[in-house]
Amino acid sequence: MPHDHHDHAGLSPSGHPYREDQDNSLSYWQAMEIAVRELMIEKGIVTAEEVAAQIDAMDARDPSQGAAVVARAWTDPAFRERLLADGSAASAEMGFDVGPMKLIAVENTADVHNVVVCTLCSCYPRNLLGLPPDWYKSRAYRSRTVREPRKVLAEFGLTLPENVTVRVHDSTADMRYIVIPARPDGTDGLDEAALAELVTRDSMIGVGVAKTG
């Protein structure tokens, strides 16, 4: 009877600990969200299908639109100027839905490295980059990036020389930020689509750099 063997209490048959069930009761705000959503559906303001479709649309976004914007900026100097002057207008020009928030693009150079954080919550350029990674929403990232940015970047594997100024951008209000990473050396022969493949999500948050190939 193989299932009678219970010597390793709390471990799965393969020897791993079971994860605890997350069956805590709802928080105040979770209950509020459900109540408001159900009331809005009941009153005919939105339908359950519309809510589900919006969640699907949010989940379907990924960083590829942001990468396309960066690759265009690397290859088209006039577009780069327009992107730095008005990030929303330049992204809309590429056919991307930029949403109600205004986009500011900040550019990494030989002297400046930019990194984005939202200390108050989790503001993030979701239209271009998709949902933020879990670490972006963590208290540790949010509080430490404005206090000791170079230490945080080093933990992501990015150690910057002293002569490079680090500029931290705290998305506190109506702006959203995207970092234009530096174009890697040795990529002169690549076209825009191949360049976009080098642009990682982390490089557009500023905790990484573009891939070299």
Binding site: K102, I104, T119, L120, V146, R147, E148, P149, R150, K151, E162, T165, V166, R167, V168, H169, D170, S171, T172, A173, D174, M175
Partner: protein, 91 residues
């Protein structure tokens, strides 16, 4: 309200009002300079409660890390944040 020009030195007001405030507590009382002028945008302190908001200039203010944290390891690195006009006093 007269818009503050980029480069204007400003101090963030040291107030602690209740409610939905988008001025981070760690920047209150700190001194920086206007990086660029944005807006006008509706005041989130009114918007959050369904009131018709005042339309205010929003500023990107650049702070030296050393002016935010006296013990900053790299004081000349910078921190930019968006601060609504009524939270700033020109110096």
């Amino acid at each position: 309200m007269q818009a503050l020009e980029p480069g204007t030195p400003v101090r963030v007001r040291r107030m602690m009002p209740p409610g939905h405030v988008r001025t981070p507590a760690y920047l209150r009382g700190k001194t920086g300079a206007v990086e660029r002028v944005l807006g006008p945008f509706g005041n989130p302190e009114q918007l959050a409660y369904g009131h018709t908001p005042d339309r205010l200039p929003l500023y990107r203010v650049r702070f030296r890390l050393g002016d935010v944290w006296p013990d900053a390891a790299t004081p000349d690195d910078t921190l930019d944040a968006e601060i609504y006009a009524h939270w700033l006093e020109a110096l």
